[in-house]
Symmetry: none
Subunit: 226 residues, 2 copies
DNA sequence: TTCATTTTTGACAATTCTGTGACAATTCAA
DNA sequence: TTGAATTGTCACAGAATTGTCAAAAATGAA
């Protein structure tokens, strides 16, 4: 997931970036045409896009906006020769993650790439407070309460709850959870999931052996209901 | 530092905004009168102002202009029923940061608030004295006290405290700190952060091994509470 | 330059979290 | 109703993270 798509029509710039990125163990790919770049982005789903603004066929702003409109949220860093604030603002409003003006120092750009990727790797979806029954979860403060008693939950437990909540009312299989919460780095057994369910039930359910929110669906998975 | 002043005379709108903002962990405050809103802005120095245009006593354009004239640069997002481009231009020329036409989607407005605050977040943090428990920090004089004993703190320690304070109650990851306090020039390891935490705890906590203000959140980061 | 201070790193200890397997309980299907 | 499969439950080992200290490296002033 460290593919980086460079959409940039000046070979001097793109070649330089390619070399620097390879040095940092990313996998750079160059497109020098706006429309083709856009298509490639959709196809290869890069981990990050370095996006020039002035491009043949489709400019950077349009690419950024269209990617966002079509529901993709690849991290995007816009590159531009113009230092004007206006460009910057537009870039951010279209959903760019960062904005770098040429000429830029390679070191700085690398740092910004790292920063953007780091920020993204943490954030998942866009609610950070959620309530059901007598339970309150605050994901940005990592605070949880049942009634007026604080609940101690680990980060992984928050992540699991967040995933369940985002799928409220739907069956979530153990493999869904392993893929989405644990990711592709770790491969615990499906039993691990059951253990977390148990732990969560003890925390959020009034009677953990008669769950009302984290329900079992035999030989399918679990379902969270509000 | 996340107070948001809503100056809006339609309760249907302001109440709705209040609820949404609370959900996002902001602290909304409503004024329904132009002149009073203006005075309140001067008094409470909000982190951002949501400003309607049509208002009793003093309209939004005047409020915006007068705030800027009196040297304040709170981020301002203008709200208006009129979609006319003219309004837009005037709003920006008066120094508004963004402009949203009613009816607006709450999600969009929240996104714009975040975007404006992000753009501004580099500049703001305009407090230079802060107190909690028996600790006093003066960021412009670089003086600190616990009880009546002076504390020796390095500049970086002041910067870290300032960042924590600006995120009071929220989780701050080590990477947040590295991005925001250290910036893009230096890349110390995350262990460096822990060491600063230790040093700061020894200085500001009464019992550094039982911290009450700089709290650890395992596998997430730290949180400052007042 | 030297010296004092600040910043960073690395090592190790202490703590917390995760994952696993065993066994019990439950569910399903025939 | 019975047996196989699935899920509930628990306690423990070892992984991973954080606390802590001391020493090395960097910085800045005299």
């Amino acid at each position: 997931m460290n593919k980086i798509l460079i959409i940039e029509d000046d070979p001097a710039v793109s070649k330089g970036l390619e070399i620097s990125l390879k040095n940092e163990n990313y996998e750079p790919l160059i497109e020098n045409d706006g429309e083709k770049g856009f298509q490639t982005a959709l196809k290869i789903r890069p981990g990050l896009i370095l996006l020039d603004i002035m491009l043949p066929n489709k400019n950077g702003f349009d690419i950024c906006r269209d990617l966002r409109l079509s529901g993709h949220n690849f991290p995007i860093i816009m590159l531009s020769a113009k230092a004007e604030e206006a460009d910057k603002v537009i870039g951010f409003e279209l959903g760019a993650d960062d904005y770098v003006t040429k000429p830029f120092s390679v070191k700085e750009l690398m740092a910004r790439i790292k920063a953007v990727l780091r920020r993204r790797s943490v954030i998942v979806s866009d609610f950070d407070k959620y309530e059901f029954d007598d339970v309150t979860l605050d994901f940005s403060k990592l605070e949880a309460k049942k009634g007026n008693k604080k609940i101690d939950m680990s980060l992984k437990e928050y992540e699991i709850m967040k995933y369940f909540i985002s799928k409220e009312g739907l069956i979530v299989t153990r493999n869904d959870l392993l893929d989405e919460v644990w990711g592709y780095e770790n491969f615990p057994t499906t039993r691990t999931v059951d253990n977390y369910i148990l732990a969560l039930r003890k925390k959020i359910e009034t009677n953990h052996s008669r769950p009302k929110h984290l329900l079992t669906f035999h030989s399918a998975g679990y379902k969270f209901v509000k």
